[in-house]
Symmetry: C2
Subunit: 434 residues, 2 copies
C-alpha cells in the first residue's frame, strides 16, 4: 500500500478520523507505520500516536529522532504527552523534553511525570481555565480567552486565590450576564468537587460517575489547583479496571492480549496453573491418606470430580458476588450476617444438588443406601463451607488493603478443591466408620 | 432520625449532593425514604430518585400518587424519566403520563418508551439543541436560547434540514464570529459522527470511547435526528457490561447483588451449579467404566483432582483471553493460526507442569516410573486439549452471534473436566495396557 503515491495517500487519509488511522497503523509493519506518521502533518499524527497500541507506538517512536518526537508531543494535551514520554527509554526522555520548544508545555509535562499512573495525578492534564478571585470580570474574560487557546474543550472555569488554592468555579452564564466591573469574588460558586492528586484512579472514577461529572479539578496536598481530569480518561480507567478484574478471575497474572507472543502469554498463565498443580498434588496426598476407606468403598472415588467441581463453582460464585459488591460499595452490614446468609444459600443449593446426586447415585450407580446418603451429606457440607470461604476471603483481603479480586479464580478454586476433598472423605470415614 | 424536625432536616439535606442523599435513602426504610422525598422540593428529589437503587425506588414510587410521580418526572431529562416509567406497573404508566403537565415532555417520554433498553434508542435523551440549515445566524441564536433552557449541558449544536435529517454540527465559536445574516448552510461542519437508533448499546459505547466523544447524535432509519447520547450514560453501559461478563465468568446466571435475598441469589446460582453436578455425574460414570484399570493402578485415581483442576484452569484462561479479545476487537487473523498458538502455549505450560508432577509423583508417592510417565503425558495432552477447547468455543459462539462471555466459567470448566478425565484414563489405558 504505502509505496510511492504520497499525494494520494495524504488526501485519502486526511478524510479519516485519527482513531481510524491509528487502527490501520496498528496493522502495518513498523516501517510502514513510521512512514505513514512522517507523511502526515503533526497535528494529526500526534493524535494518531496517542491512540495507537503501546507496543507498536514504542517501535515507531524508536524510528523517530528526539526532535520529531518532541514536535509530536507539542501538539498533544499534557496528560497524553506525559503518558507517551513515560514509555520512552530513559536516555531519550531528557533529550526529547529539551527539544520541546514551548517551555511552558515542557514544564507541565515534567510536572506530570512524577505522579504514579494509578493516581489522580497520573490521569490529570494541566490544560484548564483558571481565574483569580481578585480579578474583575473584564480581566477574567481577557485572561480566559488566552488560556482557552491551549484547552481543547472548556469544561469548567476554576477560581483560585492568590496562593493558587482552589476556591470554587464560575458559570459561563453568570460571567456573561454580570457587569464587567464586578469582582469574581462576588459571583463565583464556592462549592466545587475536587480530588486530591494522590487519590487512587479507581476512586476518582467512582466519584466522577457517582456525581455525573464531566471534569473534576485536582488539588495538591495543601489545596492548590494543579490539574483537571476529564471523563474520557475515566472511561479508560473503568475499562482497564474491569479487564484486570476479569483476567484475575480467570487466573491470568499479567496483563496480556490475545495477540501477544506465546512466551508472554505463558508467563502470564503459568503462575496460577502452578498453584493449581500444587493444590492437585495436595489433593492427591489427601486421597492417598484415606487408603483403607478407598479399598472398601471404591465408588466414593468416582464422585471426587463431582465434589471438586461443586466446591470450585460455589467458591467462585460466592467470591465473585463479594468482589463485585466490594468494588461497587454495595456491601453493607456485619460480616457475620453475610456469612449466615451464605450458609442459607449453601443449604438451599446444597439440598437441591445433594438430592439429585443421591437419587442418581443410588439408582444409576447402584450404590448402597448408606453410601449415597454419605455422598449427599458430604456435598451439602462441602457447598456450605465453600460458600463461606468464598465470602470470607474477599472480605478479609479487602480489610487488609489487598485487592479482593485476587481471591477469585484459581486461588479460591484450589483452596476449595482441597477443603472439599478433605471434608468429603472425612464425612465418609465418620459415617461409614472405616 | 426522620421524626419531626422537618425544618432542620430540610436545611441539612439542602447542603448535600443528590447522589449522597440517594445513598442515604437506599439505607432507610421505605416509609422513611418516602417521607424524605415528600419533604424536599421536586427539583432535587427527581435527581435523588434517578440515582436511587431500583428496588427501593420502586417501593417509594408505590407510595406516591400518579400526580406526584408525574411532577418528579417533569424535572428529569427524558432518558431518566423514561427509565423510571419503564419500571412502573402497566396500569399506572398511562395515568402518570397523562398527569405530566408539559405535553412536549410527555410526548418525548412516550417516544422513548418504545425503544429497547439495550439500544442507542434506549440510551438517548430527547434534550438537544438543533437548528435548521436554512435559518440565518440570528434566528438560530434566538431558537437556541429557548431550546437550551431544557438542556442541562449543551454538548453540540446539531444542524438538520427541513425534513429533520441530520446534516452536520455547528461550532459555537463559528456561530459567534460570523455576521448575524449568514445562513447556517454556509457555516456548519458537514461531518458529524452519529449512530442509528437501533444500534446496540455496547457498540455505541465502543464508538464513543474510540473517538473520545462526549455526546453523539442518534438518527432513525432514514437519517432523521431523534436524540443524543451523552458520555455519562455510556459510563454506566461500560460498567454494567463489565459486571455482566464478570458474573457470567463466575457462573452467575442472573444479575444479582450481594444484598439481594437468599432466594434471588439461589436462583441466580443454582442453574450453573446443576450443570456442574451433571458434569460431575458424567465424570463419575467415566471413572466407573475404567474399573479394571482402577483395580490395578489405584494411584491413578489420586491424581484425578490434579487433572481436573488443571483442565479447568487452562480452559478458563484460554477462553477469558479470547472473550476479552473479541470484546475489544483485538482478535485478528485466522482461527487456525490462533489454535496453533494455543497448542504451543499448552505445550510449554503442559511441559512445565508435567515435569513437576512427574518428579513429585515418582519421589513422594513412589509411583512406578511408567505410571509417573503416564500421568505426565496425560497432563500435557489434557492441557493442550483444554487450551484448544477454551479458545475454539468463544470464537464459535461469536460467529453464531451468541455472546462469547457465556463460554467462560462453569460451562468451560465442566466440559473440560469431562474431557480431561476421559483423556487421562484413555492415555493410561493405552500406555499401561490394561
Amino acid at each position: 500500500i504505502a509505496e510511492q503515491k504520497n499525494a494520494e495517500l495524504q488526501t485519502m487519509l486526511s478524510e479519516f478520523h485519527y482513531a481510524d488511522i491509528a487502527e490501520i497503523a496498528d496493522e502495518l509493519e513498523v516501517e510502514e507505520a513510521t512512514y505513514l506518521i512522517k507523511l502526515l502533518d503533526s497535528e494529526k499524527t500526534s493524535d494518531i500516536l496517542a491512540e495507537m497500541h503501546e507496543d507498536i507506538r514504542e517501535a515507531v517512536l524508536g524510528n523517530l529522532t528526539a526532535k520529531e518526537i518532541a514536535s509530536e508531543l507539542e501538539e498533544l494535551d499534557t496528560d497524553d504527552a506525559a503518558d507517551i514520554i513515560n514509555e520512552l527509554p530513559k536516555e531519550i526522555i531528557q533529550e526529547v523534553i529539551s527539544e520541546i520548544e514551548d517551555r511552558e508545555h515542557a514544564k507541565h509535562i515534567v510536572d506530570l511525570l512524577r505522579y504514579d499512573e494509578d493516581t489522580a495525578g497520573g490521569l490529570m492534564a494541566k490544560e484548564l481555565v483558571k481565574v483569580n478571585e481578585n480579578w474583575n470580570v473584564l480581566t477574567c474574560v481577557k485572561e480566559m480567552r488566552s488560556q482557552a487557546e491551549n484547552v481543547t474543550r472548556v469544561h469548567s472555569i476554576y477560581v483560585v486565590d492568590d496562593e493558587g488554592l482552589l476556591k470554587g468555579r464560575l458559570s459561563l452564564k453568570d460571567l456573561l450576564t454580570t457587569s464587567t466591573k464586578t469582582n469574581i469574588k462576588d459571583v463565583y460558586i464556592p462549592k466545587v468537587d475536587s480530588v486530591n492528586v494522590n487519590e487512587n484512579a479507581e476512586e476518582v472514577a467512582k466519584i466522577m460517575s457517582k456525581y455525573d461529572l464531566e471534569a473534576i479539578p485536582v488539588v495538591d496536598e495543601i489545596g492548590r489547583l494543579v490539574g483537571r481530569i476529564t471523563i474520557d480518561d475515566i472511561v479508560d480507567v473503568i475499562r482497564e479496571e474491569a479487564d484486570k478484574d476479569y483476567q484475575m478471575a480467570a487466573g491470568i497474572s499479567r496483563e496480556v492480549e490475545a495477540d501477544d507472543s506465546v512466551w508472554e502469554i505463558t508467563r502470564a498463565r503459568l503462575p496460577w496453573l502452578l498453584i493449581g498443580t500444587f493444590g492437585g498434588l495436595g489433593a492427591a496426598s489427601i486421597i492417598t491418606s484415606f487408603q483403607p476407606l478407598m479399598n472398601d468403598y471404591k465408588i466414593l472415588l468416582s464422585f471426587v470430580p463431582l465434589v471438586q467441581a461443586t466446591a470450585g463453582n460455589v467458591g467462585v460464585q460466592s467470591s465473585a458476588i463479594m468482589v463485585q459488591g466490594l468494588a461497587n460499595d454495595t456491601v453493607k452490614g456485619e460480616v457475620a450476617a453475610r456469612l449466615i446468609k451464605e450458609f442459607l444459600i449453601g443449604l438451599t443449593n446444597g439440598g437441591a444438588i445433594a438430592s439429585i446426586v443421591l437419587l442418581v447415585s443410588h439408582f444409576m450407580f447402584n450404590t448402597p443406601y448408606l453410601v449415597s446418603f454419605t455422598i449427599g451429606i458430604a456435598i451439602i457440607l462441602v457447598i456450605i463451607v465453600a460458600a463461606i470461604i468464598g465470602t470470607f476471603i474477599p472480605v478479609f483481603l479487602d480489610k487488609r488493603g489487598i485487592d479482593p479480586a485476587i481471591a477469585t479464580g484459581p486461588f479460591i478454586t484450589t483452596s476449595n478443591d482441597i477443603f472439599g476433598i478433605l471434608i468429603y472423605f472425612t464425612i465418609a470415614k465418620l459415617i461409614l466408620g472405616v
